[in-house]
Symmetry: C2
Subunit: 305 residues, 2 copies
């Protein structure tokens, strides 16, 4: 399978390098880190049994025009941000039969791409991982790493199953699901609560927030459940309790949004929280806690950090 990874950040480098390890021909389209990766490839270090490995992409591209042949699969590994035109990034990389994989946080992030490329197979992906780009071409994998992949808006194609198998062959647990939309809502349950609260609190860890304001966190999660239910993607009634319990067991942890905020990078407020709120409004579900957190995040983004 010929794979093109767009975005040589932590997520793209990590999962792209593992697809290469599994036998795929993986090229990388890099922006800011192009020169380093072209010269030196990517070095990865994991705190898990994956250990250390080096990734020499089949090709390192600065521009999609350099592509010799269109890939079988393009793996879009960029954050979903209001100013970033994902369709424009994808368009020049696609052959007639290229499958698009969106490996991104958030809910309802596929619609725009499905509308732009109706003739292409579209796979949604979720990464459950702590991984950081520490320097150009240097990736530090701290914990976790499992994936969920599924066709959008639903179903499970041979390509999705092949990708899941490829990841599994190199030690990455990958759930191939026929209902990626529900999987997104399940992950959003955690993200919509802990990500913005970590920023608005001024940098508290997940455990500190939970110890102090568990009822508030549960109220947010309950509203997310209500939206998912109203949109036909009901979540398991036990899920909130399970996520609270597993967060209590996690070591104190800085969310991805907090890391972005502290580094002065744009945050995925819209993909995670804005899309959730808009879905709730559309569904006519009362979501006053989510509306409050979203309004405060929009204010927080306006102020200097």
């Amino acid at each position: 399978m010929r794979v093109l990874v767009i975005g040589a950040g932590a997520i793209g480098s990590f999962y792209g390098s593992l697809l290469a390890k599994s036998g795929c021909a993986v090229s990388v389209l890099a922006r800011s880190d192009y020169a380093h990766i072209k010269a030196h490839g990517i070095d990865l270090t994991s705190e898990t049994p994956l250990g250390r490995w080096h990734f020499s992409p089949a090709a390192v591209l600065r521009d999609a025009a350099e592509l010799a042949d269109p890939p079988d699969v393009v793996l879009l590994c960029v954050k979903v941000l209001p100013g970033l035109d994902r369709a424009a990034l994808l368009r020049p990389t696609l052959g007639a039969d290229t499958t698009i994989v969106l490996l991104s946080n958030g809910v309802e992030i596929e619609d725009e791409i499905a509308a732009a490329f109706p003739g292409h197979e579209l796979i949604g992906g979720l990464a459950f991982i702590c991984v950081t780009r520490t320097a150009p071409g240097r990736i530090w994998h701290q914990a976790y790493g499992h994936l969920a992949l599924g066709n959008y808006p639903g179903g499970l194609s041979p390509t999705t199953q092949a990708l899941a198998k490829a990841f599994a062959s190199v030690g990455i647990a990958c759930e191939a699901t026929a209902d990626i939309v529900t999987a997104r809502w399940r992950k959003c349950l955690w993200n919509a609560a802990f990500n913005p609260l970590s920023v608005l609190s001024g940098g508290l860890s997940t455990v500190a927030m939970l110890d102090s304001q568990e009822p508030f966190i549960r109220a947010i999660m309950t509203e997310v459940c209500g939206i998912a239910h109203a949109l036909g993607h009901p979540l398991d009634a036990q899920l909130i309790g399970q996520q609270i319990a597993s967060t209590h067991r996690m070591p104190p942890y800085k969310t991805s949004m907090l890391l972005d905020f502290e580094a002065g990078r744009p945050m995925e407020t819209e993909a995670i929280l804005g899309n959730t709120v808009r879905a709730g409004r559309r569904a006519g579900v009362p979501i006053p806690h989510l509306e409050s957190v979203y309004a405060l995040m929009k204010l927080r983004e306006m102020a200097p950090t």
Copy 2:
């Protein structure tokens, strides 16, 4: 009238000095600024027609034990903070007939003092003012200055009327109200929204918050109205619109809570927001926006600034 002001901060110095100007014998119980005020008195500068004036207290005390005679009126001008025992501050200053005036922000801040001193006349007071202590014994009055005074839990005594008259005689508009509790809710409508949002937003001005998130601010204010109504202190239906409109007309303005936060001082979160939320819970009124803002403020207070 012999008056003792407890607290030589901005509020105590400003209103105490004006009562002295009106002819009262005003002493000051000062803590951190005792030495400076004992030696030099208090210098005040106003941007209003009040101009500049000097205040030499009748006595400057470090300890209530130094009081020769109990005052007719004690004016408690300290912030209402969880760690501060206001009853303990008041107790040694009270003679049998001393009237207590609480000049403080917040709602439901009188009950504790009423319970501690059931035999004393108790007056609630609200100051609508921008005033700052720039150094020990140096007060800068930027704008506004009017007061509301009224007996707690209701009514209008001769002492309250005499105080209002004294303030009026030196150019301070002072509403003597028979319903100070409603006046507190009216002020809280603004404070419960703008004060915490200014902190959680990372320091935005009132106008910037309003321009971006007016519906959210209105939702908070609507909940405060609901609480006041449920507790028998209904606010005028026009009040939210009036406060929004007047805030639009104000110059961009940092709230008192934001100034405290930026200076690393404790904030009046409990007096303004916590007491509002507890009143709402007691009244059984749904207040999800207020609950969200309160939970986030409690988190924000836990994190290093």
